[in-house]
Symmetry: C2
Subunit: 314 residues, 2 copies
């Protein structure tokens, strides 16, 4: 469930572009006007605004935003304004170019998007960077990380509901055997998470819990400092409980020492139109405080206003 609030009667695209142009004009920028427009238009509407703005004013709206805005507010507005597939391609590109073992953005994009969305992001990656996403992932990652990330970003998972229970049992046992032996980088363990459908993995993990008495992610927590293990846990969580994965990213971003604006911006920009309502409910359940209140407490100025608008504040 989306948190996006689009007014019942939306101004014409031409009007929106005109207002944005005004917000940029003269000394100073009218940030409130920008928020009142862009934070309340859906993906298709923003795409049309960007196209029309380029035609009318001969400038890419994203470039104009880059010139007029600064810092976290700028990044949030720009990421949000991007078409969702281009946004995914952009985030994935950033992740490959400055990849670190703790970076979970590639897993996030590979495992929380639909198969078609992931493929669309790969297409957008060709167009934007003149190479393939998997090419950059393979080049910029190494060892076990590459072994996991390459098939994840290249996957086109089957999305039907059908489940093979015999297979679920076999593979639950296989996973348990490998995990017991701490063979976390085992070929078959990676194969299962990288290629099976969500429905099938879910059945396998249900059987795992029934048969061996623990959530698999508990068994995968033997060493909290092992970043490869953390990446496998993120994979499992993104595939099966994306709302819990994103809740935790927000929790760590907000509750840590200082705020991790990068993660906060990314989650709000990528999920507002998808399932941010569910993530916010999960956040409140887990932290006993509404997500919006926590965000307001931790952020300021136009950045705060844009976040709150995307969180669906009336």
């Amino acid at each position: 469930m989306s948190t996006l609030k689009v007014p019942q009667s939306v101004p014409s695209v031409a009007d929106d572009c005109e207002q944005l142009r005004k917000a940029f004009a003269g000394w100073g920028t009218n940030e409130g006007l920008i928020i009142s427009i862009l934070a309340h238009r859906n993906n298709a509407q923003r795409k049309l605004i960007r196209e029309t703005y380029a035609q009318t004013h001969g400038e890419d709206l994203l470039k104009a935003l880059e010139k007029e805005l600064t810092s976290d507010f700028e990044r949030l507005v720009r990421l949000w304004t991007l078409d969702s597939t281009e946004r995914d391609a952009t985030l994935a590109h950033e992740a490959t170019q400055k990849w670190t073992a703790s970076n979970k953005v590639l897993v996030e994009i590979a495992c929380t998007r639909s198969s078609v969305q992931l493929f669309s992001a790969r297409k957008a990656y060709h167009a934007l960077y003149m190479k393939s996403l998997e090419e950059d992932v393979a080049q910029h990652t190494t060892g076990d990380f590459r072994k996991l990330l390459l098939p994840l970003v290249s996957s086109y998972r089957y999305e039907g509901d059908e489940v093979n229970l015999t297979l679920a049992k076999t593979e639950a046992k296989l996973l348990h055997d490998k995990i017991t032996k701490k063979a976390y980088n085992d070929d078959d363990l990676i194969r299962i998470f990288a290629t099976r459908s969500r429905a099938q993995i879910n059945a396998t993990l249900n059987h795992y819990k029934d048969e061996f008495g623990k959530d698999i992610n508990k068994d995968l927590k033997t060493d909290p400092k092992d970043e490869f293990l953390a990446l496998i846990r993120a994979t499992v969580k993104c595939l099966i409980h994306p709302e819990k994965y994103f809740e935790k990213v927000l929790r760590l971003a907000i509750n840590g020492r200082g705020t991790d604006e990068g993660s906060l911006t990314r989650v709000v920009a990528t999920r507002a139109e998808v399932d941010l309502k569910i993530i916010a409910d999960e956040y409140q359940r887990r932290n006993s405080v509404p997500l919006e209140r926590a965000v307001v407490k931790d952020t300021t100025g136009d950045y705060e206003k844009m976040l709150v608008a995307l969180l669906g504040h009336e």
Copy 2:
């Protein structure tokens, strides 16, 4: 260049379906009539015939062909009649279900199709088999073969012409180092062939030849019995010289002891509408006999007639 001959004035789809129905009716089957229609319709026309036939006669044309025809002729007509993406999905499925180390069909499909065609075959695989191609490849192959085949069938290569010459030099050296050490299953060697664009790989292999004096496939021929090495050579050839790869498949199919109808059928059915003319020219250059004459000498009956028709005999 295609060898397909479509008549200047093609009968209506309804007429084609009617004639096919007649060819199946009564005692015996009119194989000549079937060839005269199906071997002279392009992919779009055959697709329409199959749809119209199902609507008109309440039966899948492929099922009817299966009932009426037999043996190599049946397989050729059925493979040819299939839409090209469904055909690729079918061939890939056969290859995963009865996979052997010497089977090169997966490499062939992954490396001689365009990125969009390969992706379309993966989509068709979902629809036909309710799972993903990479899922089956990962499950049914093992070890080094899996390490190579999984990224190959999952790839969505960039198809632009741009080449990075610095990268080509670095990676040519890297390939040479690994090959000199006989590290054929090296992560980076596989990464290069599985993810780089054709243009980039071509540049790398040109530099390889200039710098180290030999074609890479010569250096990859240290052990003619090593099936993994043979698969890497097939990968390189399919990516860079598909016409030479297919010429060799035909040569071995025709010139071996007995005929390998499986390979002959597959190459003719999959390439007739693509580049069979180029492959046939390559065959004649390499064997000093026209492909059509070689095929006629090695095959008989309706199978021969259908092959000759697809080879473009007037």
